[in-house]
Subunit: 227 residues, 2 copies
DNA sequence: ACTCGGAGTTAGGATTGCCTAAACGTGGGG
DNA sequence: CCCCACGTTTAGGCAATCCTAACTCCGAGT
């Protein structure tokens, strides 16, 4: 007998769990209860409970004391939420004056409320974009996604010229700072200098030089190796 | 310093109750448990429970066995939801290809998820409209609203020429039919004939004549008395 | 004025989803 | 090889919100 006859509709919480688990288990890795708990800011015990319910719905594979993986259905549901989230972000930035560093929270609420119809209308007026304002790829309605290759800015050697590809999510003030420096997907920069041992990085953006901490360099990702 | 120091944030359910009660108690009328239950498709017992909780939060005045009224705070909260709902409808129709007869359901979900910031951005790009696609007035952010005078089409005498002002909410197929006839806010029509005793109404819309049932005539409201 | 019948409320139960505290499993270090 | 620490799960609670069933109130009609 195979997985899903019919899922009862996911709750808002369930959707958040699946998204979190998707993010935590790239390439078939297995996610642990406490990782999920940490990401969602819940207690591990709560996660155990919800994992059980989602497993019963055929969305997760759970090996007690070992870890959790998405089933095909679970992955589909997670990618559906990712598509919604990223299209909503793109829409808000394109049409309603949001900036890429402030749009996350709004999308986080809306993604649970929009209909498929609305999502696809937004996609249409946007021209079916491939990436969101952070540079993250937008899954197709069928659940296909491909992550463009990129490396953290913190691994780019001094002297290289690279294009910013993505800015990963993080604390709002951190994102605000990155935005204020002018780092955003599509921008070309040069790495002027770097201190050893995860020290600060000196970069040139639009003719100006900035020194940024290594942690920021790990959040900003660039076109992998160029020139 | 006025009424409310702090309400704990309303839940989605609470917001729906306040909206329903607002709609049921025009001009200080009092709403009954069963009216609310009927409107929200819940059991009267459930309404009793929630009414108690909302009263404790200072949003309702409840006289047991008698009825319910909104407090100033409750009214403010209800009008806030109404503003959201109607602006969302207006936005979806103006920018995302929705039609006035299909937009309600989407707005019903989104109104609980959007931030004030997003609502005001939508209002701004719409040019701060006074009415939504159904012709219903949009409350201001401060909670002011004024209902433009209108009378049901079913009370317009034969021979009169009137402008459609509002189409009240109703079952989707009913709305769809009204839309298909071309009745919508702003349109001018003529009442050609009417049968007595709440019988059908014959109207001319954009050069074509239609016969509509009296129930539909009660849902469509017109500029009050013209010519 | 009394009495029913219907409207309204209370009681008790289910579900979801969160928590803390206690019990339990697993694997690495002694 | 055993045992303990840490991570995981279970147990037991709580709050919100719904339900059905049983009880209570009110007022309309005789």
């Amino acid at each position: 007998m195979h997985a899903a006859l019919q899922h009862e509709p996911l709750t808002r919480s369930g959707e958040d769990y699946l998204k979190a688990i998707y993010r935590l288990s790239p390439a078939g890795r297995t996610a642990s209860t406490s990782e999920i708990a940490h990401r969602l800011e819940l207690s591990p015990a709560s996660v155990s409970g919800m994992v059980k319910r989602l497993s019963e719905q055929g969305l997760l594979e759970h090996v007690p004391y070992k870890g959790v993986q998405l089933t095909a259905d679970g992955r589909r549901a997670a990618l559906r939420m990712l598509r919604r989230h990223r299209l909503i972000e793109a829409y808000l930035v394109a049409f309603l004056g949001y900036t890429w560093d402030t749009v996350h929270e709004e999308a986080e609420r809306l993604e649970h409320a929009v209909s498929d119809k609305l999502v696809e209308r937004m996609a249409a007026v946007l021209g079916n974009p491939a990436v969101d304002p952070h540079g993250d790829p937008i899954p197709t309605p069928e659940g296909d996604i491909h992550e463009p290759a990129s490396i953290p800015l913190s691994e780019v050697p001094a002297g290289a010229r690279v294009e910013i590809r993505r800015v990963e999510e993080g604390q709002p003030e951190r994102l605000r700072y990155i935005a204020s420096v002018g780092l955003r997907p599509g921008v070309h920069i040069r790495v002027l200098d770097r201190q050893p041992f995860q020290g600060p990085i000196t970069i040139e953006v639009a003719g100006r030089t900035h020194v940024i901490g290594n942690e920021l360099g790990q959040v900003v990702r660039c076109a992998s190796e160029q020139e």
